[in-house]
């Protein structure tokens, strides 16, 4: 059974290879092939899942070792896989949602002449992402880690002819590279500390390493996580990443890739458990990001950017939970999965809306769409309810648990984190309601497209609606299912679990959650439900304007890194030319000048030559005598 693990990665990888090298002759069938292969790996995943359920909770982990990747004295990097409950969860999420989005893309990319390549990239992504979660050592994980980075780069920049897309892609890759730096440094520290970087030995022997080392490793891993999961301070790329086709935003920048950071932290649980300082930083980053994302989400008029902000915020929840240690890990993952469902659903919904509105993204130019695209409306609505944590829906369960855990952290920290999460919940409710209202309710604010055509919204084709429906089902049921099917017990052997005891009763927390949710919805209704929404965005408060610009984060980056960097490189180019090169050329010139001057001595007059001879002789004599004298 273990030997199937490699296939999980191999099948989609094969698909990518075939589709990318296949050439035009695959244009017809390419997308089907891609979808098929994604599905295949999903079913393999299911098979393994079934097999895993068959075993007792403690020996569910499977391993498969292919070959030694980098054999160097004292440095063994294997291509080897490890499939335990944690990986399993991800495998199912990735391949499952992945397959759905493949299906969705068939319709969505129908009119794009480079659809084959798009599917090739999607397969590549699935393969890389699976490699990331299946690796049994940090270096192989790094392989997958950068692999998804590449896929995301290619997909964000899929419409390369749009400069904005190309820039966004580049930005995403670069910011991620900063994170990757963290990961590679973490691996180096591990290697020098433990002499290996395989999960097993490293995590087993954390006890023997010094506090400082572990903290260092933890922080470096966090840096990596921030890069991939768009956490403050490396979150800036996610918003721009929405330049990519919507299925990409749904799969990579909502459901799966951006959650890799959470995976990394949970996977390294032992390290963090032994490094409280690192954990604290993790929670802080999570808390900050969840507010940051939420605030940004409130201000955006671009529907995808609003959702992107929400994604940031939700991942903030997960990171925060992961930072809480054993009381949080499980719920981090749980929220991750449910979020995977509803956020993917929301994005697909948004995509379908844009599809109907000739790719208009500005929500202020929507309005009253619910009658024109009922399916989209319903599925989107369910996703909406799920994310704001409407009781009974998936988001309710997962988020509620995180809030509890946050309080359970104990002490002032607990209170602070808890209230932050609550506040986050309120804002979430607010901005999601805002999206909902601006898009589907109120009167039409449609604008004609550039060639004067008025949009005529229509329901999307089957290939698009079916995935939406399935995801909607997921977003409704997943939470409850996990709650009652025992998600905690499922993951516990891997991540460990400690029941947290919040200072106030769980019931109270739940009540509070619902309350703030209602408040958020209410506020949004007052602002966007009652009065008409202006087509042109009002200037808005200082905060709003800042939030529209991602709270000036980009401006900061631009001012410091882009402009500053340009100056540095410019001046270095100058230095290289004038100084480094100048010194050499200067010497050459000096010798040349000397030559020119000496040359003048050769003035053609025999008597001058005689003088030099005479002088020379005199010097010779003097020198010889002098030698004897001294």
């Amino acid at each position: 059974m273990e030997n199937l693990i490699a296939l999980l990665v191999g099948v989609p990888l094969l698909g990518a290879a075939v589709l990318l090298c296949g050439g035009r002759r695959l244009d017809r069938t390419g997308h089907w092939l891609g979808t098929l292969l994604a599905a295949v790996s999903f079913f393999i995943g299911l098979a393994l899942f079934a097999d895993m359920l068959g075993k007792s909770a403690d020996d569910r982990a499977m391993h498969q070792r292919l070959f030694t990747w980098i054999p160097v004295e004292g440095f063994q990097a294997d291509i080897a896989f490890q499939l335990d409950q944690l990986s399993m969860t991800f495998v199912l999420l990735i391949s499952g949602v992945g397959t759905l989005i493949h299906v969705y893309s068939i319709g969505y990319m129908e009119h794009d002449e480079r659809r084959r390549r798009f599917f090739g990239y999607l397969n590549l992504f699935v393969a890389a992402m699976l490699l990331l979660v299946l690796a049994d050592n940090y270096l192989l994980l790094y392989f997958g880690w950068e692999g998804v980075g590449l896929a995301s780069y290619l997909l964000i920049g899929f419409w390369q002819h749009k400069p904005s897309a190309a820039t966004a892609a580049k930005k995403a890759f670069l910011v991620n590279r900063v994170g990757d730096m963290g990961l590679s440094i973490a691996i180096m520290i591990m290697f020098t500390t433990f002499g290996t970087f395989a999960f097993g030995p490293v995590l087993a022997s954390t006890g023997e390493a010094s506090q400082g080392t572990l903290t260092a490793i933890g922080l470096m891993l966090l840096l990596a996580a921030c890069g991939k999961s768009a956490q403050v301070p490396l979150q800036s790329w996610l918003g721009d990443a929405m330049e990519g086709p919507t299925p990409v935003s749904a799969l990579i920048h909502a459901a799966t890739m951006v959650t890799a950071g959470v995976y990394l932290i949970v996977r390294s649980a032992d390290i963090f458990n032994a490094a409280p300082d690192a954990q604290l930083v993790v929670t802080v980053v999570g808390a900050v990001t969840l507010l940051f994302g939420a605030i940004v989400g409130c201000a955006k008029d671009d529907i995808k950017k609003a959702l992107a902000g929400s994604t940031m915020s939700q991942i903030g929840y997960m990171i925060l939970a992961a930072g809480l240690g054993p009381i949080g890990y499980v719920f981090a993952i749980m929220h991750l999965v449910t979020h995977g469902f509803f956020k993917a659903g929301l994005f697909l919904g948004a995509g379908s809306v844009m599809h109907g509105m000739n790719d208009e993204v500005d929500m202020r130019k929507y309005g009253g769409l619910r009658k024109y695209m009922p399916v989209t409306f319903v599925t989107f609505g369910l996703g909406y309810l799920a994310i704001i944590g409407f009781p009974g829906l998936s988001g309710f369960f997962s988020k509620d648990k995180i809030i509890e855990a946050a309080f359970a952290k104990g002490g002032t920290e607990g209170w602070i984190l808890g209230s932050v999460t609550l506040l986050g919940a309120a804002i979430t409710a607010y901005y999601m309601t805002r999206v909902m209202l601006m898009t589907f309710f109120g009167e039409k604010r449609w604008q004609n497209d550039e060639n004067g055509e008025p949009p005529h919204p229509h329901e999307s084709p089957r290939s698009m609606t079916i995935p939406m429906i399935l995801l909607a089902v997921g977003s409704v049921a997943a939470g409850a299912y996990f709650e009652f099917a025992g998600f905690v017990e499922w993951l516990e052997p891997v991540t460990g679990y400690a029941h947290g005891h919040p200072p106030i009763s769980a019931a109270a927390v739940t009540a509070a959650t619902v309350a703030v949710m209602v408040i958020g919805v209410g506020l949004a209704y007052l602002q966007y439900g009652r009065r008409p929404v202006p087509v042109v965005a009002p200037r808005g408060s200082l905060l709003t304007r800042a939030a529209r610009r991602d709270l000036l984060q980009d401006d900061f980056n631009h001012a410091v890194f882009v402009t500053g960097g340009t100056h540095v490189t410019r001046s270095l180019v100058y230095v290289d030319h004038t100084l480094v090169d100048g010194v050499v050329n200067g010497t050459a010139a000096a010798v040349g000048g000397l030559s020119g001057r000496l040359r003048k001595l050769q003035n053609g007059y025999a008597r001058t030559y005689a003088v030099s001879m005479f002088g020379g002789t005199a010097v010779l004599i003097a020198a010889t005598l002098l030698m004897r004298a001294v």
Binding site: W69, G147, K170, S184, I185, I187, T192, V584
Partner: protein, 526 residues
């Protein structure tokens, strides 16, 4: 004295060079094919060497030794260790592609006279360089190595100065002037380095009495050859200077951008991917092998210079407007990594450095040759003159991207393996240096992606609208290189098996042990 395989590997291209040069002016194409066949034959021989070499065996294998100039204590001594084998393989592998890529680079212009035979000369010179480079990887006699180290400058010089890139901005005279400036700069830099090395070589003779690498190393090991600390340091510096110019190491690097900018793309590849490797190779074999103490003494300074090269080269690459100069500065950054790995004096570092030499050779070849194809189409080296190429020539753009990704050492492609080894090896001895070096990977991403974005993406520029995509010949150049990159990225074992023992020898030369993990490793496997 067994069959002189090593001599043959160098003799074949040398003979081929002479034959190619002798082809009459009219039969240009014949000369090209001849050169290609010869280079392929050399590749076969190199493969034989690779196979015949037993990783577990003697340090130097397939040795040959004949008296040459006994007055100077010079012998014609050949022998390869794993590092040499790897680099010979690299050279023999790249040359056919270089020839193929430069197929039309030296076709004579209508104006030139009938007796002027540039094409024959071009390919003959390339083969001559190959012969000398291969022989210098085989030489175990310091003098023999020095002779080749210097002699190979001459054909390189004619390649750079005689066959410039036809795509240039400004008038022809201007271009010719710049070209000969670049060629002269190349020659003088390396000649000065070489001459300083000559002084050291002579000094070595005075001290040691002969030039045999093995004998001297042995004598040093068993203490029969004492070297005064200062003498050793001076000699080391003499050697290292020459190699640092060739490598090139900051601040001796400025000849490289000019040379690579003005030369045709294949020649640029020849410079950076093949010839410059002789410098780093020599650091590993001669600096560390002959002067271990001095090497250790100089390590801190060299590490610093290497770090500067890494960051500085990358930053300048970002600041370039000329595609080929950008690649040149990128190479400077990479050579920084190689030197860093060599002088980190850890197994991982040095294995990494050796792999890095090979991988950098292949990746740069891929990137530079594709860039060359692009440039030859549009007739300009300026990044600003391109845009949206991926729309009109997707395959070209794709291969270019892969080359770029290799350059920024993406996992799955060969350079990642070596770069990571170098980083780990460095970190385990010099953590700070390791961390500073890691910034290089971010900068690498920056210059590669900026280059790709500016040239390949965005709206299609008017001038590039008509560019054709890669032709069969060009695909034949690029595809195999990419294949090798991927293969070595996923399965570098064949290479590491050969390299590891050699690195162990070098480590014992400098009497260095790897730093042990602070936490004793609990059973490696679970």
């Amino acid at each position: 004295m067994s069959f002189p395989l090593l001599t043959l590997t160098a003799a074949v291209p040398a003979a081929g060079a002479i034959l190619t040069a002798a082809v009459p002016a009219a039969r240009r194409t014949a000369a090209k094919w001849l050169a290609l066949l010869v280079s392929l034959a050399t590749l076969v021989l190199a493969a034989v060497v690779f196979v015949r070499f037993e990783p577990g065996g003697e340090r130097y294998q397939l040795t040959e030794s004949h008296s040459w100039i006994k007055d100077f204590g010079v012998r014609y001594e050949l022998g390869v260790d794993g590092i040499g084998v790897a680099l010979i393989a690299l050279t023999a592998l790249l040359i056919p592609f270089i020839i193929l890529a430069g197929w039309h680079d030296a076709d004579p212009l209508e104006t030139s006279s009938k007796r002027w035979r540039p094409t024959q000369g071009f390919f003959a010179l390339i083969l001559m360089v190959e012969a000398m480079v291969i022989l210098s990887f085989e030489a175990t006699d310091v003098f023999l190595f020095y002779v080749l180290f210097e002699a190979m400058l001459i054909p390189m010089y004619f390649l750079i100065g005689g066959f410039g890139d036809r795509a240039h901005s400004g008038s022809d005279e201007n271009a010719a002037a710049q070209r000969s400036y670049a060629a002269v700069k190349f020659l003088l830099y390396n000649l000065v380095g070489g001459l300083i090395m000559l002084a050291a070589v002579i000094g070595l003779y005075v001290v040691a009495g002969n030039f045999s690498l093995t004998e001297i190393a042995e004598a040093r090991a068993n203490g029969s050859l004492e070297m005064a600390t200062n003498t050793e340091r001076l000699l080391f510096l003499g050697f290292f200077f020459a190699f640092a110019v060739k490598a090139p190491l900051w601040p001796l690097h400025t000849w490289l951008p000019n040379a690579m900018g003005e030369a045709t793309a294949p020649v640029a590849v020849l410079i950076t991917a093949v010839v410059d490797k002789v410098g780093t190779f020599a650091m590993l074999r001669f600096c560390l092998g002959l002067f271990p103490e001095a090497s250790k003494w100089a390590t801190p300074a060299i590490i610093v210079l290497a770090l500067i090269s890494i960051v500085y080269g990358a930053l300048l690459a970002v600041g370039q407007r000329d595609i080929k100069r950008l690649v040149a500065y990128a190479s400077i950054s990479h050579f920084g990594f190689i030197i860093l790995g060599i002088f980190a004096m850890t197994t991982q570092g040095q294995s990494g450095a050796t792999l890095y030499m090979v991988n950098h050779g292949i990746s740069t070849a891929a990137l530079m040759l594709v860039a060359g194809f692009l440039i030859s189409r549009r007739g300009s080296r300026l990044i600003a003159d391109y845009g949206g190429v991926q729309k009109v020539a997707p395959v070209l753009a794709g291969t270019f991207l892969i080359g770029g990704l290799a350059t920024l050492s993406l996992p799955g492609l060969a350079p990642f393996v070596s770069e990571f080894l170098v980083l780990v090896g460095t970190y385990s001895r010099y953590p700070v240096a390791g961390i500073i070096a890691t910034t290089g990977i971010v900068l690498a991403a920056l210059y590669v992606l900026v280059l790709y974005q500016r040239t390949m993406t965005g709206p299609v520029k008017e001038e590039v609208r008509t560019l054709p995509d890669l032709r069969a010949r060009e695909l034949a150049v690029v595809v195999p290189l990419i294949a090798v990159l991927i293969f070595l990225g996923v399965f570098p074992k064949p290479l590491t098996d050969v390299v590891n023992p050699a690195v162990q020898h070098t480590m014992s030369d400098v009497q260095q042990k790897d730093p042990q993990p602070t936490v004793p490793n609990v059973e490696a496997a679970q």
